[in-house]
């Protein structure tokens, strides 16, 4: 048993403070992203989630220019962009127009990110920063981020849990929810706020561009396995944490792999495990006649 463990886990893994911190913050983020992500998948708003993450790159890079932690920038710009998407898209219930509005905001956000990353690289000599902002590195997270991550995560989780039943109904059938007198628009706006926070957390962990993988990947996988939303949320959280932890382990081990002996990016492994989980769930649900 100990032999097997040693073969899988390279030396120093559990003792490393960097690993412990990464595992803790990564797990927190994975849980928040997965819980919010189940609603994202149910509401068919994966593209909005992707857009908020990408736009977050502008926030992360501008925060670096301003000399504050990138998480603040990610949160601020994701919330602002969520508001913009809501304002542009709300009068048009059609999904096609909603995606259009999202796409337009996304394009502008990426333009801003290009500007801020350029300024950061040229004027402030932050040559390593674009890679970190866009693709993330959970090992580089500062321990001072922990209370922030916990705080924003708690707000996002609280929003989803407090609004659980009405939000579920509005997500599955907007007409039915409206007929029952639920404030569908307000629910949608509050959900977008939770989404913005979850995406910002995911962006700071595995990078702005990859954040959507942690948001919708585990959620979509879980919804392959179970139809009950409460079960799906629990399964998605577990899958998300598993993907992050396995990713951290693989990144650690990759340092010892030939021929480079250099270490591969942790974000690559996280999204790889998310994809493997999704494909596995598809195959499993097809064989058992589910999907």
């Amino acid at each position: 048993m100990g032999q097997v463990l040693r073969a899988i886990v390279e030396p120093g893994f559990f003792a490393s403070g960097l690993v412990q911190r990464a595992a803790l913050i990564g797990a927190l983020v994975a849980v928040v992203a997965a819980c919010v992500g189940v609603f994202t998948v149910l509401r068919g708003q994966s593209f909005a989630g992707e857009a908020l993450g990408d736009i977050g790159a502008a926030g992360g890079s501008s925060a670096y220019l301003a000399g504050v932690a990138p998480l603040w920038g990610f949160v601020a710009i994701a919330v602002a962009a969520a508001g913009a998407i809501e304002l542009i898209g709300v009068r048009h219930a059609r999904a096609a127009f909603r995606d259009l509005a999202t796409g337009i905001v996304l394009g502008f956000g990426f333009g801003l990110a290009a500007l801020f990353l350029y300024l950061g690289t040229i004027e402030q000599s932050t040559s390593g920063e674009p890679v970190t902002i866009l693709f993330g590195d959970v090992f580089l997270l500062d321990s001072s981020l922990l209370p922030l991550v916990a705080g924003f995560g708690a707000v996002a989780l609280a929003l989803v849990l407090v609004l659980y039943r009405p939000l579920l109904l509005a997500s599955v059938s907007g007409e039915l929810a409206a007929a029952r007198g639920l404030p569908v628009r307000a629910l949608g706006a509050l959900y977008l706020l939770a989404l913005a926070l979850a995406v910002a957390l995911a962006a700071v962990t595995i990078g702005a561009i990859l954040s959507t993988a942690l948001l919708v990947g585990p959620a979509a996988t879980a919804l392959q396995l179970t139809r009950r939303p409460s079960h799906a949320i629990a399964a998605a959280a577990a899958l998300g944490v598993a993907a992050v932890w396995l990713g951290i382990l693989a990144a650690w081990d990759s340092y010892y792999w030939p021929p480079l002996h250099h270490g591969w990016p942790v974000s690559f492994f996280v999204v790889t495990f998310v994809l493997i989980g999704y494909i596995g769930a598809r195959l499993w649900s097809r064989r058992s006649g589910g999907g």
């Binding site: 960097l18 920063e129 970190t132 270490g263």
Partner: protein, 306 residues
């Protein structure tokens, strides 16, 4: 932004040089040999050797910008097109110069690539050649020869300047020898390979693995094991000093600086380009070695040179 500040600075450089030269020139160069240094440390040596017969422009001189990520602008292309003598580093450090030069072919232009001057192969991992003590004396002699070929009438003047330059490097070289004698095998942590040549010349031992240094220089995230190793060096006080690149900081290097401070390891900021104003190449190098000595001897940090 960058191009505006660069062309402005180029204009200022030209004005200053014009004023120094005494001749009231109406156009850039004003009859003098137009020369370009890809980085301002090379431009500085050109102007010390060429003296009143050259008009020098530095392409890279911003203390806030990282030359590795520099992009050329049209005004720079104009300056390069007019130049008769160019000094660039090579080793992929200033490839933008090759692009500009190929955009304005000139038969009479002479280009000194410091890498080739020193006979270094392309596989040389550390491009920061101006921190090698043998680099600038070799460049000074080469400059005297090239300038004499362009303006044979001033051969004796250029040769005398080269000799004066070489002897003015002696305080720097003596400081290196003194440091190596007083503090032999000093363990040093670095964030980047920036000052590695100088540190080795000072007899120091580089405790930071080169893979980590290269990752920081190339702007990719190092492996967690490498980061943990560096943090250990600083936290356990296994190094006497942390040398970092004053012009290139990001989340990771900032965390190393914080780690050094909490571990009471003094830090010394080294520069990618020559800090201006107030320094020439010789006094800059001497100031860096003195800062290193203050850190090791008195545990005093020097984050920026004044």
């Amino acid at each position: 932004m960058k191009s505006v500040s660069l062309s402005f600075a180029a204009a200022v450089t030209a004005l200053v040089l014009t004023a120094c030269g005494g001749a009231a020139a109406s156009r850039v160069g004003g009859g003098r040999i137009v020369a370009v240094g890809a980085e301002n440390q090379y431009a500085n040596v050109i102007s010390q050797i060429g003296g009143r017969y050259v008009a020098v422009t530095a392409i890279e001189h911003s203390p806030n910008a990282d030359p590795h990520s520099f992009e050329a602008s049209p005004s720079i292309a104009q300056t390069v097109a007019a130049a008769r003598l160019i000094v660039q580093n090579g080793l992929g450090y200033d490839t933008f110069m090759d692009r500009i030069e190929s955009g304005s072919a000139s038969r009479s232009r002479r280009v000194i690539v410091v890498q080739h001057l020193l006979g270094l192969p392309d596989s040389t991992a550390n491009p920061h050649l101006w921190y090698m003590p043998r680099t600038m004396p070799a460049l000074a002699r080469e400059l005297a020869a090239e300038l004499s070929a362009i303006a044979p009438a001033h051969r004796a003047y250029f040769a005398a300047n080269a000799r004066r330059f070489e002897s003015s490097l002696e305080p720097f070289q003596r400081a290196l020898v003194r440091f190596a004698r007083r503090y032999p095998h000093t363990q040093v942590a670095v964030t980047e390979p920036l000052a590695d040549y100088l540190l080795r010349a000072a007899g120091a031992v580089l405790a930071t693995p080169f893979a980590l240094q290269a990752d920081v220089m190339n702007g990719v995230d190092p492996a967690p094991q490498a980061i943990a190793y560096q943090n250990e060096l600083l936290a356990r006080h296994r190094v006497a000093v942390l040398v970092y690149n004053q012009q290139v900081t990001d989340t990771l290097t900032a965390s190393f600086l914080a780690q050094a401070r909490s571990g009471h390891v003094p830090v010394v900021g080294f520069y990618e380009t020559m800090p201006e104003p107030g320094y020439d190449y010789q006094s800059w190098m001497l100031a860096e070695v003195n800062a290193l000595e203050r850190a090791v001897a008195d545990h005093v940090s020097t984050e920026r040179l004044r």
